[in-house]
């Protein structure tokens, strides 16, 4: 399970972020409270991604697969971070 979480961590965080945003947009409206919640969720997701990136960098490489998984995990986390920022932009830019 840990290996899968390393492999998919960034993308899972993107998914959690997206569906929370969608839930707020669908059921919570688009007022200031909703925007604040979206901002906080995005910051929290980015913080978790940063922590995971640091932990992944410190993790020892036991064999080829774990090195490969760590590379994929890091790339996924970076992609996830990009996705989180990209998904939050519509809220920041909306009038």
């Amino acid at each position: 399970m840990r290996s899968w979480l390393i492999l998919l961590g960034g993308l899972l965080l993107w998914a959690v972020h997206f569906f929370l945003l969608y839930g707020i947009g669908e059921f919570g409206g688009s007022g200031p409270a909703a925007r604040l919640a979206i901002g906080l969720i995005s910051i929290a997701c980015l913080a978790i991604i940063t922590i995971l990136l640091v932990r992944l960098a410190r993790q020892p490489r036991e064999d080829a697969l774990s090195g490969w998984g760590a590379y994929l995990g890091r790339a996924g986390l970076l992609l996830g971070a990009l996705g989180v920022v990209w998904q939050t932009l519509p809220v920041l830019l909306a009038q």
Binding site: S3, L7, L8, L11, L12, W14, A15, F18, F19, L21, Y22, G25, E26, F27, G29, S30, A34, E62, D63, A64, L65, S66, W68, G69, Y71, L72, A75, G76, L79, G83, W86, Q87, L89, P90, V91, L93, A94
Partner: protein, 842 residues
Amino acid sequence: MRSETGFDPALYDRFPTKGGRPKGEEEELRRIWCKPKGWEYLTVVNNNYVGIYYLGTAFLFFLMAGVLALLMRAQLAAPMLEILPQGTYNQVFTMHGTVMMFLFAVPAVEAAGVLLLPQMLAARDLPFPRLSAYAFWAYAVGGLCFFASIFVGLAPDGGWFMYPPLTSKAFSPGINTDFWLLGIGFIEISAIAGAIEIIVGVLRTRAPGMSLDKMPIFAWSMLVFAVMIVIAFPSIILGTLLLEIERAFNWPFFDATRGGDPMLWEHLFWFFGHPEVYIIFLPAAGMMSMIVAAVAREELVGYRLIVLAMLATGFISFGVWAHHMFATGMPPMTTGFFSAASMAVSVPAGLQVFSWIATLAIGKRSFNAPGLFVLGSIVIFVTGGLTGVMVAMVPFDWQAHDSYFIVAHLHYVLIGGMVFPLFAAFYYWIPMVSRRALSEPLAKWVFGLMFSGMNIAFLPMHLAGLQGMPRRIYTYLPGQGLELPNLISTIGAFMLAAGVLLFLVDLARNFRLAPGGGNAGNVYDGGTLEWLPSELYSTRSIPVVRSREPLRDDPKLADDVAAGRYFLPGSATGLRETIVTSPLLAEPQYLQIMPGPSAWPFAAAVFTAGFFLALTVQAYMFGWVSGVLAVACVLRWLWETDRPVEQAEVDIGAGIMVPTYVTGPSSHGWWAMVILLVVMAMIFIMALFSLAFLWSNQPGFWTPPPKIGAALPVALLYGTALVAALAARRLLPRGAGGSAGLLLFSVLAAGVALWLDWSSWRASGLVSEASGQGATIYALQALQAFATGTGLLMAAFCAARALRGLVSLPRNNSVDLTMLFLAYTAVQGLVAALFGRAFGMP
């Protein structure tokens, strides 16, 4: 080097073994995996046959849906033609879309997985061969009956997405819509059965040593594809179920005048519908990646990034469903989220395209048949992708929505992203299953006609769309500037068809099936394991995999494998068997005894199709009898399985011993059940979403639910059911009878809890026909009743096996799986009881 299971990787150094193999070993393999004769072709379960059947049937549906497309193009060749009457045209375009998406595209790629994966992973077969056979026959029988509806004027006519209220009883009173709703039902079952097979197959039956980083990219794509089916298809299963219930019993899920909402259907449909595009695209992209590397004679550039791109596509594609709904007036902020995700999903797709281009650029590419189709695919898919980014932008989408621009876009994406790669795959892999490869000179004509025909047909549609031609119209007026683009499109469509026809000629001339060996071989110099010499039992021995392209890296591998110098050179038990390996590092864990040919999956599939089709034509008695017989056939087929063999441990080669019967989380059955439960949980989650959506959008129709305190006895009973199910597994070492009794008690507790819950809702005055809330609450209860009924069947099955002395001690797979199912049922019931009350509490 670490181990995942305690297996010592140094044992791999014992292979290839030295010395000869005993006489008769290979003959025994041939006897065990023998060819079918006569009627046995209907009961065969081996992937070499089922895969070919599956692929052939999917291609047949491609041809039939293609003929429908030609009829449409003939009708639209000039204004005011009367080749097809309006009503027939509606049926034809609905069937074209439905058949292409449900009966061709998904089954075709699933079929490719069934055919190729065991060979590519060097497994003897996929882990549930009878499930593969069932999935195929349910699809084939049901699909052909479904298609036949067009010959009697009963084909669905509401578009492939079946939007209510057009498809509600008021506006579609006939049974045409029911044909779609119930007809798609068995295809969903078939797709999910295939997905479970593929996930477990890829993760648990890889050749020893084939860790995830050495897995062929096609296997990665099939893994993501199958997981996406498991997540996406439940949404359409629920949607079709709710719409059929609305039509049959007047429960207003989608009726805005009674607290339903047609937008709910759009959400449920597109949560499946858009990932569906990637469900089709990803396996095709996997094939492309394999073929590109072979035709360029170069290792695929960016293997790791392609794996990441596939995973990312799988995730992000679930965040784009509402871009089909930009014109429905969604809140601007939500629209923004979906617009952003729709643009983002092009990034991983682009990564794959750049990798293919880079591989072709640095390699020694040859413009052979697969190479041409690969190049054509890249050009067409990129064009479709670019227009996709255009329509991801909301203002442009509002202009292009429901116009021929969208028709052009989706055909560029689907033909470039799936049809051309499939043709490349035909040319590339046919030498693996046929005595002769297809003709290279003819292939150039096929490609030329298909590529030019495709562009001539669909490029002008962008223009027609921007000029204002709407989709789904059966004719148009002269003088609007639409005559020329439509005529050109029709000419292109017939050119495309001519290319396909020429391909059929090539097939007739050269395709000679050779499932038992004697195939044309590795014509295009592929480096993966499917090119090892094989027979019906797959490869003679199962190699240790030490690289991503073992055939290129070890020139002696094919000879050593064929000489039986690797794992499982013969049959260790005298039965059909394969090695089950660990999911990450593919370390050998145990020997799976595989079921052989059987008539029961075939019979179960026929009755399953009969059940759905009989309900459609309102032959209810026949339908229910068919349903009962289908269940009986499934139970009969399962009765023969889950039997430990005499030898508890066997030598699978070089003195390496593994068990022959394993239970618990490391068994393949446990994995399959967990995936099935994910499917059920997704259906349930989408039902909860439906309730929340209606509560949010139709608050005026909401009535106060029963008090939350009334749920306490319900919760206690579900808790009891959960504990009883878990205890049944714990108590098994003390005797099968007590364990089976506890399983039955768990069902009883869940049943009483459901009855109490239902009674409290009835007492609150909530009526299913009165409001969307009532309909959804009782739909949740119906789902729970289905789960409880299935649990009862499983518990009774275990009890019957216990009575016959077929439950092994101290552990047994049937008991394990029933325990899992009943535990899930209890949790689902508890959540349903609390969630329903939480919405609309005063």
